[in-house]
């Protein structure tokens, strides 16, 4: 079970109170996690990655296991601790402003 923590506004949009737990088939990557997330919560399509290009939106970041994965390949395997459900994948809004 993959754990995903969403930012406040996206939790509201998807009517989620807590972290999300997802079944992900195959290799656990950012792309496969987002595919599973958007399949369960289609209202999130376009809010994390662009509808057409699939690229991460500029003001969002991906963190896990105290590492910034924002600039890793979407198809790179996520850390084992995320794949095993020990640690969550954090999706959060980049700070822009003070």
């Amino acid at each position: 079970m993959i754990r995903v923590v969403l930012p406040y506004h996206l939790r509201n949009l998807a009517k989620i109170n807590d972290e999300v737990q997802l079944d992900v088939q195959g290799q656990v990557t950012i792309r496969s996690v987002l595919d599973a997330l958007e399949k369960r919560y289609p209202m999130l399509r376009g809010t994390i990655r662009d509808h057409v290009t699939g690229k991460r939106r500029a003001f969002l970041r991906f963190f896990a296991c105290e590492e910034d994965l924002s600039h890793e390949s979407l198809d790179a395997p996520l850390p084992e601790a995320v794949a095993s459900g020990k640690e969550p994948l954090l999706i959060l809004g980049a700070i822009a402003g003070g």
Binding site: P7, H9, L10, L13, R40, M43, G46, H51, R57, L60
Partner: protein, 395 residues
């Protein structure tokens, strides 16, 4: 007894203000979509319970919301409750939030560049929906004016959107450039006497018209003079802030340009300036009295460098001649130390017997006049900065 519903979009959510026809005591509901920018929300003329809202965020992009009960509850029309969340092919739904420029060979146009602030070529990029204009006759049809400037239409209640690509692609697109707020299509006027005629305005490109339902478009900027562009009378490049029409005379349009207030009597073929005795002819909003087609309202703003009312006095100026003669309306409005702005989509009129006029400010006040502007009172004083104001008359 009839009443009114005022729809207010702000930097931090939407608010719905309701009152009976006296328009004295108001109920305030909201914030809806708290924390999100609501550039615009508007009701369908064909079904007052059908509302559309543009919810957006620099972080999370564009969301389209729809209400079928006058704003009590909302849904994203691409993901209606109770229906499968995926298509038969297994693809997630959420097409209501998807605005993709049409570059198909059959219906679309190549995605050219437009000018950036420094005049260099810049690729077209979708950012947000500025304005939603529901059809005059069909609750499921609605137009969306977007940034970077283009016009989209949905004919399924906002579930899916298709670009009317001939506007962006008619030829002058590479000369369009952004205004200070971005390169936005902010005004959509539907001609009640001719379903094939639509007017739009883009900052900073100008006004455009189609007479064939969007298949072809042409600039309608003759008569405009903009001293801040290399050729002040160029075909495009003008920073039009807002256009208004009275439904009984769709060939007469009134324009608040970056500088100058203008009118046309021939559907935009030629404009003439009617700034007259205004203390400044810079401003954003312009609107027309519901029952007097020659009575128009503007809110002068000191300049494009300062963006607040002259002398710290918030004044609405009313012309009863559709022209150069105006009176300042100040009763009930702050006449000292007022430094708010009134943005382009933040004025509306109702059609009750005594025409109501409404406007919102960047200071979070929404002012209402139940007597065509003779006197004003705030409905609310402390909302987030107001981006848009619309009003519906309810049965």
């Amino acid at each position: 007894m009839s009443g009114v519903r005022v729809l207010v979009g702000t930097r931090k959510g939407a608010f719905v203000l309701t009152a009976d026809a006296k328009r004295e005591k108001w109920d305030v509901s909201g914030p809806h979509f708290a924390g999100w920018e609501i550039y615009h929300l508007k009701g369908s003329p064909a079904d007052p319970n059908r509302l559309y809202a543009s919810q957006s965020s620099g972080w999370f992009g564009q969301i389209i919301q729809r209400s079928d009960d006058g704003g009590k509850t909302w849904l994203q029309p691409g993901t209606p409750p109770g229906e499968p969340l995926t298509t038969p092919e297994g693809m997630p739904k959420a097409e209501s939030n998807k605005f993709v420029y049409d570059t198909s060979a059959e219906t679309g146009k190549p995605l050219t560049t437009h000018q950036f602030y420094d005049g260099t070529a810049h690729p077209w990029e979708f950012k947000r929906v500025w304005h939603l204009e529901p059809s005059l006759t069909d609750p499921d049809t609605v137009y969306a004016g977007v940034e970077d400037a283009a016009l989209f239409r949905s004919s399924d209640g906002g579930q899916t959107w298709q670009e009317l690509a001939a506007l962006r692609g008619h030829g002058t697109g590479p000369l369009w450039q952004p205004g200070a707020g971005g390169m936005c299509l902010h005004t959509v006027l539907l001609d009640p006497s001719n379903a094939n005629r639509i007017f739009v305005a883009i900052s900073a490109a100008g006004a455009f018209r189609t007479d064939d339902g969007g298949k072809t478009w042409r600039p309608i900027n003759q008569g405009l003079q903009s001293l801040y562009i290399p050729d002040p009378t160029a075909e495009v490049g003008h920073c039009v802030h807002r256009i208004a029409m009275h439904p009984s005379r769709p060939n007469v349009l009134f324009m608040q340009k970056h500088w100058d207030v203008l009118r046309t009597d021939n559907a935009g073929d030629l404009w003439r300036e009617i700034s007259g005795n205004l203390p400044t002819d810079f401003g954003f909003v312009i609107d027309v009295h519901a029952h007097e087609p020659e009575t128009i309202y503007v809110v002068p703003i000191k300049s494009d460098s300062e963006h607040f009312p002259p002398d710290g006095k918030l004044r609405v100026y009313r012309s009863r001649t559709g022209g150069n003669e105006r009176e300042a309306l100040t009763n009930g409005l702050p006449q000292s130390d007022c430094y708010v702005n009134v943005l382009r989509d933040a004025m509306a009129v109702d059609s009750l017997d005594s025409c109501g006029v409404y406007f919102g400010t960047t200071g979070g006040q929404v002012y209402a006049s139940a007597n065509a502007g003779d006197s004003w009172a705030p409905i609310v004083r402390d909302l987030p900065a107001v981006l848009s104001v619309e009003v519906q008359v309810l049965p």
